[in-house]
Amino acid sequence: MYVAVKGGEAAIANAHRLLAESRRGDVSVPDLSVAQIREQMALLVDRVMTEGSLHDPDLAALALKQARGDLIEAVFLVRAYRTTLPRFGASEPVETGAMTLRRRISATYKDLPGGQVLGPTFDYTHRLIDFALAAEGEAPVAEEAEPLADAAHAPRVTDLLGHDGLIEPSAPDDGTPPGDLTREPLDFPADRALRLQALARGDEGFVLALGYSTQRGYGRTHPFVGEIRVGTVAVEFVPEELGFPVPLGEVALTECQMVNQFHGSAETPPQFTRGYGLAFGQSERKAMAMALVDRALRAEELGEPVGAPAQDQEFVLAHCDALQATGFVEHLKLPHYVDFQAELELVRRLRAEHAARHAPSETEMKEAAE
């Protein structure tokens, strides 16, 4: 009987063997290849890369396979691997203005230099289950269009607004390297670069719900989608010994520039303000939600009243990380019987004292009734 309390290494090893078998599922169904996941579950791979803070589609796909499709578990695998990688330094800032575009839309202008490019999007699809997909084998082909004459030049909407002084300028680069919350403990108040890093790594569901809450009045920011652009950018690195940038390759990104109303203050004339979102791959929902929350978190800087959850950086940054959240929620599965025993003892004592207090009063009531 009492022996059952002991956990034991054998039980753990057995559980892990059962997990491996369950992961594979029915062996009469062909094994899923990492390439299949990378190519056909691409948006899931993008999300694992974004929240895992590591651009490596094959590794993200492998993590998804190992995690049986559990998104947060896959992010966990990628993050734990990422921590062990040597760091050579920081890349040059990527130039999203020179992005090779796959998709680019603006909600603030009907037409603009570079044009509106819908690209591969679920927008305007009718969400009807396509039973034809259940019959495997079909490979749809999209026709290739003539390249647009001005496609090469698609300036950012915020830059266009900036020419007229209608939007706040981007903070100038003062040369201080941005912080890194994976290398230094997060300290409050956190500057915008650190907040953006936390939001980019943050759980999409959490950031989405917070962004949504600002639209419903909990820290309203009057947002317009200035622009969403999806595509690839070149990554360059300056090795110490060379002193000039060397191209490392390309990464796929989604960038969202939110344009928000601002009434101005005593020092600042009325102008639009910025909210920024950036994610790996095609992750529009994440980038948009991030831009909403980024703008909400700037409330204090812009002299706006702070009160809503999305404006509260300690609340947002301390709770947006899916790994921290899932670890601490799931740790409740671990044994707590020592503490529970302490509480049991207290509750028993309090109940005994309660009973002792009430026992005489019952006698008194009987006496009163008699």
Partner: protein, 293 residues
């Protein structure tokens, strides 16, 4: 049972962490020792086990561990609980150290929720896994506020909370993670150990290190340091007392686990510290229900 494990996992550094991370943690540990009870922020790394499952303790252990150390890992006082087994296996795979279940043989003991019953000695380090390092957190959720309160040594809030317990229940209703004052200055969370263990922290010959991975804090109690459980003159600190000895080894004055035997109220109380219980039984001590084991 002291076994040498000579199967280091290939591909990772000794004790898993890279040397840069170890140095960062070591520097935090030194400041934590110099400022007893103060929570030093550190850049906690993502570990291959989840936050909340001992990542802080694991990082502290990995940073201090050397080849000659003898490691013991316990959870709820037991060497056999699943998470203790898992963490011990982690170090067995990534560091070439001897492991033991014997409290007195260990040089480094990583623990969750208990302090061993056997007295600790000079030359030992007790590493606690800490979920919420901030003793004021449930009274004031904001880090910026609690940091100020510590800076000013303003602990009135904590005394008010404990006193409200007395007003409501007749006594202090905190049974574990019971706040302590360290070396007359900082109020500190002892981690969720039952308050039964608090007196063992006072004037303890071993160095006590605390690691909170998710919350990114390290703190310390040097050996022979005054650790006082907060209380009031008219309501002095008291520990839980069990009205029976361990059913297996007959030990008294130890912390007991309640084990349910059936669904008709049958139960037995046994040592939470399994090593202590086993050593006593090996020495011939017999409890009333030793036949159950």
């Amino acid at each position: 049972m002291t076994t040498a494990v000579a199967m280091p996992e290939t591909g990772y550094n000794f004790a898993y962490l890279d040397e840069g991370t170890k140095r960062m943690i070591r520097r935090a540990i030194l400041k934590a020792i110099a400022i007893p009870g103060y929570q030093v922020p550190f850049a906690s790394r993502e570990m291959p086990m989840p936050y909340g499952w001992g990542t802080g303790g694991v990082q502290v252990t990995a940073a201090i561990l050397g080849q000659d150390d003898v490691l013991k890992v316990i959870d709820q006082g037991s060497d056999d609980t699943t998470n203790a087994v898992s963490i011990r296996a982690f170090f067995a795979r990534t560091a070439d150290v001897a492991v033991t279940t014997r409290t007195r043989d260990a040089t480094v003991i990583q623990t969750r929720h208990r302090i061993p019953e056997a007295p600790l000695h000079e030359g030992q380090v007790l590493v606690y896994q800490v979920p919420i390092p901030e003793p004021l957190r449930f009274l004031e959720p904001r880090e910026t506020e609690t940091r100020q309160l510590h800076a000013l040594a303003e602990y009135g809030l904590m005394h008010v909370k404990l006193y409200e317990d007395i007003a409501r229940h007749g006594h202090i209703a905190t049974t574990y993670a019971y706040p302590v004052e360290v070396a007359g200055r900082y109020v500190m969370d002892p981690s969720p150990t039952p308050k039964f263990d608090n007196p063992k922290m006072d004037d303890c010959p071993a160095l006590q290190l605390f690691g909170a991975g998710r919350e990114k804090r390290i703190y310390a109690v040097p050996p022979h340091t005054r650790v006082r459980s907060l209380d009031f003159e008219d309501h002095p600190f008291r520990v839980q007392a069990f009205d029976r000895p361990c059913a297996l080894c007959g030990a008294e004055g130890v912390y007991l686990d309640e084990v349910l035997l059936d669904d008709a109220g049958g139960r037995m109380f046994v040592c939470s510290d399994t090593d202590h219980c086993e050593e006593r039984r090996a020495d011939g001590h017999v409890g009333a229900e030793a036949a159950h084991a």
